[in-house]
Assembly symmetry: C2
Homo-oligomer: 194 residues x 2
DNA sequence: ACTTGCATGTAAGTCGTTACATGATTGT
DNA sequence: ACAATCATGTAACGACTTACATGCAAGT
């Protein structure tokens, strides 16, 4: 037994448990679910999900059932009672404040080593990338809202609600980034011209 | 030779090289420098800097000199020409867009599993943490501005400038977080009371 | 005398990635 | 027949973290 280990991020485990609360899933389903739900802020590879599931089965938070489906063997994972208890307990623990561990900030920090004209190029390209993700998120958000407008039951479903809240955050976050780097580029231009 | 490896984050290596461009440093100095400069968005442990330096020496980006200082042996690291070339080349490469890989979003995503009153508690605590960091950053920013006000030469130093820009980003980022989670809490309260 | 800071390092573990490997089923 | 998607898995590596270990030097 290790006396060490403090548990730092472990976003993956919690996301797996949380998604399994929606219903049983194969590793493949899990990957797909992650892509379309937490995907914009967290998405792990299949090669990462596989050992994570193995560990969760080992520690009893997840149960594995092998089923035959369409003449094929399939491994279906479900959350156990202990897993649910663990998850629920985590969910109401304090929210840890994280650093904005963004590689873009490292570049900005050392931006004095880049020519001004090149700086502007880089920021413009970066802004385009931000806009792409931003508009995709907004579209996704809009789609969800339209679907919900037709279905009052869904709109009052707390599960759907909190998931939309993260989408709202993402959308606002990219708005913030766009505005910030837009202003930043403007500042550089002003300093450049006499 | 591995045909794999794509290089993803490697913030650490770039920060080490960039800080060594300011002047030679020991591993200890490096750690201190990181804490007080990139610390608010990136800070690595000494146990991580050590092997990173070893690797950088091995691949010729950094040079190690053992000096005697005050009757004690000291290992001083300096950036080599190749290291500088590598760094400068990286600095003008495109800025990669990153995901907001924030554990707080995972919690928000599954917030339907938390009671409303507890939610508000958690957000309040979170907001307090945000405010602590925010005010520390603002203070730091103010201090820097004051120092610069007295010294025109420094204010026109591009190195100082870009470092202040990241501070500005951090400050604005925490403003954004504070505003966002403030509104979020408000929304929850409104939905709660009929 | 003692604490704090300077200074360097390793061992073990965590969390994740990319690339590779394999194969069955479904739709065109 | 062939491509796409469903499905599961491993090997090697990467980028860290915490905890432990050690010891000297400077200031109080």
């Amino acid at each position: 037994m290790s006396t060490r280990s403090k548990r730092r991020s472990i976003m993956q485990d919690k996301i797996i448990l949380g998604l399994l609360l929606d219903g049983d899933k194969s590793s493949y389903d899990l990957k797909k679910s992650m892509e379309t739900s937490t995907g914009f802020f967290y998405n792990s590879s299949q090669g990462s999900i596989q050992p994570a599931l193995k560990k969760l089965v080992q520690n009893g938070h997840v149960h594995l059932t092998e089923v035959r489906q369409g003449g094929r063997n399939k491994k279906v994972y479900s959350i156990t009672e202990e897993g649910e208890k663990e998850f629920l307990s985590w969910a109401s623990e304090p929210i840890a404040l994280d650093k904005p561990r963004d590689p873009a900030l490292v570049k900005m920090f050392f931006f004095n080593y880049v020519e001004d004209s090149r700086k502007l190029e880089l920021i413009e390209t970066y802004l385009n990338e931000i806009e792409t993700v931003r508009s995709t998120l907004k579209m996704f958000q809009q789609m969800n809202r339209e679907q919900l407008g037709k279905n009052q039951e869904l709109l009052n479903n707390p599960r759907v609600r909190s998931r939309l809240d993260t989408l709202d955050f993402g959308s606002d976050y990219y708005d913030f980034l766009k505005a910030w780097y837009g202003k930043y580029a403007q500042k550089i231009i002003e300093e450049l011209g006499p």
